[in-house]
């Protein structure tokens, strides 16, 4: 049977990147086509900084229904902080559901997959710090 996945997009910037909501939906739609899943209309995360209420609502309400998981636009829409991310990922897995990230082409089905996501996150964070450091350093050269 075809997977049924709830879309999840954001209305705010993440890592200083902004993607129009219509484009996020397009990427998600394409991804669902590729993995042959049914894409259910996206919920849009609140505009308020560091807020993940809508994602939590999907996990609590939608994942109890006849829905197999979530398809988010990008892994970088997850919370900024390691343990908040871990909590969200493990709550999804505990319910025997999956979360996919359309842009990065990833499907998270188990703890190992979710650790992989954490790793990518931490590397991204560190590279941003080092990029900032390098650009400061350039002022002295």
């Amino acid at each position: 049977m075809k997977l049924k996945l709830r879309g999840y997009i954001t209305s705010r910037k993440f890592f200083d990147e902004r993607v129009p909501q219509s484009v996020q939906n397009l990427v998600i739609r394409e991804f669902c086509k590729k993995i042959n899943a049914n894409y259910l209309l996206s919920a849009t995360e609140y505009y308020m900084k560091n807020n993940h209420s809508i994602l939590k609502k999907i996990i609590r309400d939608d994942l109890n229904k006849n829905i197999n998981g979530i398809v988010a636009y990008s892994i970088f829409q997850l919370p900024d902080e390691y343990f908040s991310r871990k909590k969200i990922l493990s709550e999804i897995l505990k319910k025997n559901k999956i979360i996919c990230f359309a842009l990065e082409n990833k499907i998270i089905k188990n703890l190992e997959d979710s650790e992989n996501i954490q790793l990518i996150w931490e590397i991204k964070k560190k590279t941003i710090i080092s990029n900032n450091f390098i650009s400061k350093l350039k002022m002295y050269v």
Binding site: S11, R12, P20, Q21, T44, E45, Y46, Y47, K57
Partner: protein, 266 residues
């Protein structure tokens, strides 16, 4: 929230509109051009029924739509009509002229308008087309925007929508902070403060989309048809809904056109 108003070089009618809009967060006005309204309604009716010999009135055809359309097929039809509307060259212009003076009084006369007009069709007992309580600003709309909401049939009770008047915003903030991800909790706590809007066909609603609003399952035995579209002042701040991809200018005045092109002699 207390709104203070300073410069007030406005007419009596503008003042009535402004005061009501600030106090309640919405205003219901008569459409300014009933011919254009008929044109829009005819366009929608023609999109759903090719049978021109149909003796039923437009209102009857729209209200009884649920009888021939299963809720499960509703979104597909909605998308088809939505595309028809937004591919029509004059639809947006006609829509704007139904509320032009109201918008002048509330927003200004140099405006951007949302590129696409939204269409909502709510059949009785259809759970799939619900809009939970929200403010548009929570998903990236600018607080400088307003929504123009135009019913194609009479909208009342659960066939309509609700809004939280501005005076209850403090109460809302407290409740929201406690449990912002639980829509059911928020709705049940705030229900008693909502205004349920009764808007007849021939009237148009302009509302403050920063205030919580939404709809519930339509328990009236008629289908609700409504259009909505956002407007803001051209030079007011934009949030996630940007100029170009979401909004486009519709009323640029000559002085602005001159200013945009102006270069000091050098």
């Amino acid at each position: 929230m207390v709104y203070t108003v300073t410069a007030m070089f406005i007419t009596k009618t503008e003042k009535i509109i402004a005061d009501k809009f600030i106090k309640d967060g919405y205003i219901i006005l008569k459409v300014e051009d009933s011919k254009r309204l008929r044109k829009l309604q005819n366009f929608i009716v023609k999109s759903i029924s090719k049978n021109t010999k149909n003796k039923k009135s437009n209102l009857d055809i729209l209200n009884s739509y649920y009888m021939n359309k299963r809720n499960k097929d509703l979104n597909q039809s909605r998308l088809r009509i939505y595309n028809n509307i937004n591919n029509n060259q004059n639809f947006r212009k006609d829509f704007y002229f139904l509320a032009k003076h109201g918008l002048d009084a509330i927003v200004g006369n140099e405006l951007v308008m949302q590129n696409k007009i939204n269409l909502s069709i709510q059949n009785p007992n259809d759970h799939s087309s619900l809009l939970n309580m929200h403010a548009d600003t929570w998903s990236g709309d600018s607080p400088y925007e307003v929504v123009v909401w135009l019913p194609m049939v009479d909208a009342y009770k659960s066939k309509s929508m609700y809004i939280l008047p501005a005076k209850y915003l403090k109460k809302f903030q407290k409740i929201f902070l406690k449990n912002q991800s639980n829509q059911k909790y928020l709705y049940s706590k705030l229900k008693k403060y909502f205004h349920w809007l009764e808007i007849k066909f021939g009237e148009v609603l302009i509302f403050n989309q920063t205030l919580p609003h939404g709809n519930i399952v339509n328990k009236v035995n008629e289908t609700r048809w409504s259009l909505n579209c956002r407007f803001k002042s051209i030079f007011s701040p934009y949030e996630d809904k940007k100029l170009g991809e979401f909004f486009e200018p519709i009323t640029i005045k000559p002085a602005t056109k001159i200013g945009l092109k102006y270069k000091l002699p050098s």
